[in-house]
């Protein structure tokens, strides 16, 4: 999805973070000294220079870190983690700092470890169709490095120009092409990880792993920096499709547009991208970029079809026919690459464009089963009236990922709080209809306290026990993802309930 704007004009002070450990803060000089011995030219301890690290892309939450360290070798990362593990110092990993869920929010008693210096592509392996990169390499830089031979890296989060591949792994980043090409987790082949105790391990490689133990690569992808620090990533690259065309389809109601999405997919067509915008979003985007969107419709679908020319021509015709059957008020097909980019320009600018009609907005990120779309949109409208705030909807219709933008003015007392309540209501609604809290932005601190809406205590404990298997001391990125921090030893205890036996004939040993 395109760029996301967050309400940076307001500072949240009531986010509950783990209580800073006073003794750790008291030995700050000692910690700084130790880190300087590990990374002589990469320790930032001056308060003015630490300030730019106080938040990531979600600037609502801010905290000056204990100290910032910028290692440039795997050995340094390992030594830092070994030191912190031995001295009980917390660590917050940071990639490019573009997270929209506060994944890299510092802690007052934690070392922020920035991976910005790990910015080299190590190898392009054309025969095995993969790229080996350091974690600070940007998502787009990978595509840029291989496009001259007709390849690209498929996941394309809106921040792809700036977000790092290591951060993509930590957040399991998505993008508009997920439906057909998958998320980060489906496109990573290998990782080098530094575990919280400093040990350096590799999982996967340049092949599709089979039976090589538990799928730690799959677990680490999307673990939001709680399990280890990624120091090298191997991703697969794909051949660019021969032809790409985009279609605009306008509908008189959200329901009709939703039906068209179901009909397209039901007909066996899997578009490379399938996006939907509601009236407010259409108007804001059109006013900003003049993409040529119809203004007399309630909902707009943008479909992108790719593949061999023969296939794309054929699919465009089928999709147009389906749209017409579903009552599309207008259907337009891009006739040139310029036009295709123009169709997308409006969608990609939808967020900043909405920002122009409102001083602030909150971007939500729930996913719902597509069939509930019309109902969810209607209920969001009702919530909008209840909270007295406007909302614009931009939707990855192909995979059900909804981005409602809640419009508010932070300078009006109480509006931020209302917007946040509205946002929480929307996410609760997503879960209620069978969806999830976050489709691609991550839980971080932003949605942490809503986790119990989706998971019960047993579910969350199971996840936290996995955390304990990696980080028994709870030193890596604490305060993120989980609403309650449990002690690992406490959680490891087995509660055996006697209970009644369902198989009474079984012998007791």
């Amino acid at each position: 999805m395109p760029r996301v704007v967050i309400p940076v004009r307001c500072v949240k002070t009531d986010m509950r973070m783990p209580v800073p450990d006073t003794p750790t803060i008291a030995r700050r000089q000692q910690i700084v000294g130790a880190l300087r011995r590990i990374v002589p030219d990469g320790v930032i301890a001056d308060e003015a220079a630490m300030r730019p690290y106080e938040c990531d892309g979600l600037a609502v939450y801010r905290q000056i870190p204990l100290v910032v360290v910028l290692p440039s070798t795997v050995e340094q990362v390992s030594a830092i983690l070994r030191y912190c593990n031995a001295n009980n110092v917390k660590i917050v990993p940071r990639g490019a700092g573009t997270s929209l869920s506060g994944g890299a929010l510092p802690l007052a008693d934690a070392v922020t470890i920035g991976l910005g210096r790990f910015n080299r592509i190590l190898e392009i392996d054309w025969d095995n169709r993969c790229v080996v990169a350091q974690p600070g390499v940007t998502n787009l830089a990978i595509t840029n490095a291989v496009q001259h031979r007709g390849f690209y890296y498929a996941p394309d989060p809106s921040s792809q120009i700036a977000c790092s591949i290591g951060g993509n792994v930590a957040e399991n980043a998505g993008g508009v092409h997920c439906l057909k090409y998958g998320l980060t987790t489906n496109n990573v082949l290998g990782l080098q990880i530094v575990l919280p105790d400093g040990e350096v391990v590799r999982v996967g490689g340049r092949h599709q792993p089979e039976g090589e133990g538990y799928d730690l690569m799959g677990l680490l992808t999307g673990s939001e920096g709680l399990l280890g620090i990624v120091t090298e990533v191997t991703v697969r690259i794909l051949r660019k499709p021969e032809t790409v065309r985009a279609m605009l389809m306008g509908f008189a109601s959200n329901e009709a547009a939703g039906d068209a999405v179901a009909a397209i997919i039901g007909a066996g067509v899997v578009p490379a991208g399938l996006e939907m915008m509601d009236r407010l979003a259409i108007h804001a985007a059109e006013e900003f970029v003049h993409a040529g969107y119809p203004l007399d419709v309630e909902a707009l679908l943008i479909a992108e079809l790719d593949g061999p020319q023969a296939e794309v021509d054929y699919l465009v015709e089928r999709v147009a026919a389906i749209a017409a059957r579903c009552g599309a008020a207008c259907v337009r097909v891009s006739a040139s690459e310029d036009e295709r980019l123009r169709f997308w320009a409006g969608r990609k600018a939808a967020f900043p464009a909405v920002g122009r009609i409102s001083p602030d907005y909150l971007c939500m990120d729930g996913t719902i089963p597509r069939r509930r779309l019309a109902e969810v949109l209607a209920r969001i409208r009702a919530l909008s009236e209840k909270h007295g705030l406007r909302v614009a909807n931009v939707f990855h219709a192909g995979d059900g990922n909804l981005h409602p933008l809640i419009l508010f003015d932070a300078n009006r007392p109480g509006e931020l709080e209302r917007a946040e309540e509205f946002g929480a209501d929307i996410l609760r609604l997503c879960v209620e209809v069978g969806g999830v809290l976050t489709g691609e932005h991550g839980v971080g601190v932003e949605k942490r306290d809503l986790m119990p809406v989706m998971f019960d205590e047993v579910d969350l404990e199971q996840q936290q026990r996995v955390k304990c298997a990696f980080d028994a001391g709870g030193l890596l990125n604490p305060g993120k993802v989980f609403p309650t921090l449990h002690n690992c030893a406490e959680m490891g205890r087995l509660r055996v309930s006697g209970g009644q036996l369902p198989f009474p004939d079984l012998p007791r040993f």
Binding site: H207, G268, V269, P308, Q309, L315, P369, M454, Q462
Partner: protein, 406 residues
């Protein structure tokens, strides 16, 4: 082993494991039992069968998602999907003939627990890439869930990935939610006849680097091709290299023509249409050529460009027959030597290109003593044990199935 406990619903599965916990007695988690010969044999007093916990819970074709209870048979799921023009894109294999034994079909829970995939893996991913959500019982006797029922979800740790391919050692899956895809209108397979392994890998790399979306690439040496029931392959008399394309009919026609043009200078070209193509890829998927004998069968996962080199390396040390699947990235080997000797040659060869080898078929006695799965790197052994304990602190679920003592 006594009669297995039969779970008929999620609660009874929980109670059975709860019983095992209270008795501190290990238990074997089973579905249809078709893959019991895969992995290390388990010596336990009791089994828990989930085959009775069956039924499709939720399926709306336009969502491209299905939720089913773990004991639902793969056959039922595939039939239901097919009736709606859909399928499991990762092409789950059927190893009954290869492994011998079981007559009943596989369950969907086991397909995911063993993370099996067929030739389409390069294009569509493995089972793990399609698993969106799970419910299961951990080794504490607790029912837990992870993931969700939607395609795009990053809420919490992705425990689905961890459980996929864990062979029931972390949890007894009770329910799975997974992605499904439309069956393409058409498919066809371009055969290039008479290539040596090395040239075949080059052809498969070129196919994969082309914009023609090749969804299967395999190479069968002459002796193995001759066993095929597909006449164009069985009667070729020489090695066969196969490239599959799928999609709307006009697109398939276009791509077949393009691949034919591309590879015609290298050898004689044949094209398998619909049924022929399907039959051929079923054989590759199920490793049918190795089904009829008792040799050890290995599956090597390697960087695709290294496929031919690995086969040559193994051939320098022991006698082996090889099928190259997934463009060279998956090498099936049948070896006649003693297990230790073969293991050394096969694992060393895989390691030379950074890949790994799994022993897929071997007599129980061999599997009880030799490593079946690729031995874990030193740094991962302790971590793996800790992850296991995070789900199963007493080590009750399928103990030793993957690694001795785990």
């Amino acid at each position: 082993m006594g009669d297995p406990l039969i779970a008929t619903d999620e609660a009874s599965a929980r109670d059975a494991i709860g019983w095992a916990v209270s008795e501190k007695t290990p238990i074997e988690i089973m579905g249809g039992g078709t893959k019991r010969a895969l992995g290390r044999p388990i010596q336990v007093a009791r089994g828990l069968s989930l085959a009775g916990l069956s039924g499709i819970e939720d399926y709306e074709p336009s969502e491209l998602v299905m939720t089913a209870w773990a004991g639902t048979s793969l056959a039922e799921i595939e039939a239901t999907l097919a009736a709606n023009g859909q399928r499991l894109a990762f092409e789950p294999p059927d190893y009954r003939a290869l492994l011998g034994g079981a007559a009943d079909g596989a369950t969907i829970g086991a397909v995911f627990s063993c993370n099996l995939a067929g030739p389409r893996r390069t294009a569509a991913g493995a089972a793990r890439d399609h698993l969106l959500g799970i419910r299961g019982v951990n080794g504490r006797g607790e029912i837990f869930k992870a993931g969700g029922r939607v395609v795009k979800n990053v809420t919490g740790f992705d425990l689905c990935k961890l459980v996929a391919g864990s062979f029931g050692t972390l949890a007894a899956l009770t329910q799975v939610t997974f992605r499904v895809f439309p069956i393409p209108e058409a498919e066809a397979t371009v055969l290039v006849i008479g290539l040596l392994e090395q040239d075949a890998v080059a052809v498969m790399i070129e196919g994969a680097q082309s914009p023609h979306e090749v969804s299967g690439a395999a190479h069968l040496p002459a002796g193995i091709a001759a066993l095929s029931g597909v006449s164009a392959v069985g009667g070729a008399g020489r090695a066969v290299t196969a490239l599959r394309v799928e999609g709307p009919a006009p697109s398939v026609v276009h791509r077949v023509a393009a691949l034919r043009r591309c590879f015609a200078p290298l050898g004689e070209i044949e094209v398998l249409e619909a049924e022929g193509s399907q039959a051929f890829w079923r054989e590759v998927r199920d490793v049918t050529p190795f089904a009829g004998d008792s040799r050890l069968v290995w599956r090597l996962a390697v960087p695709p460009a290294g496929g031919a080199a690995v086969v040559a390396e193994v051939g320098r040390r022991i006698e082996a027959e090889a099928i190259l699947d997934r463009g060279g990235g998956c090498v099936w080997l049948a070896t006649a030597q003693k297990a230790e000797e073969a293991a050394g040659a096969v694992r060393d060869a895989a390691a030379t290109v950074g890949g790994s080898a799994t022993l897929i078929r071997a007599p129980e006695a061999v599997r009880s003593h030799a490593d079946v799965f690729p031995p874990l790197a030193a740094g991962l052994r302790d971590l793996t044990a800790r992850v296991k304990r995070a789900f199963d602190p007493l080590g009750l679920l399928n103990p030793g199935r993957m690694y001795a003592g785990l």
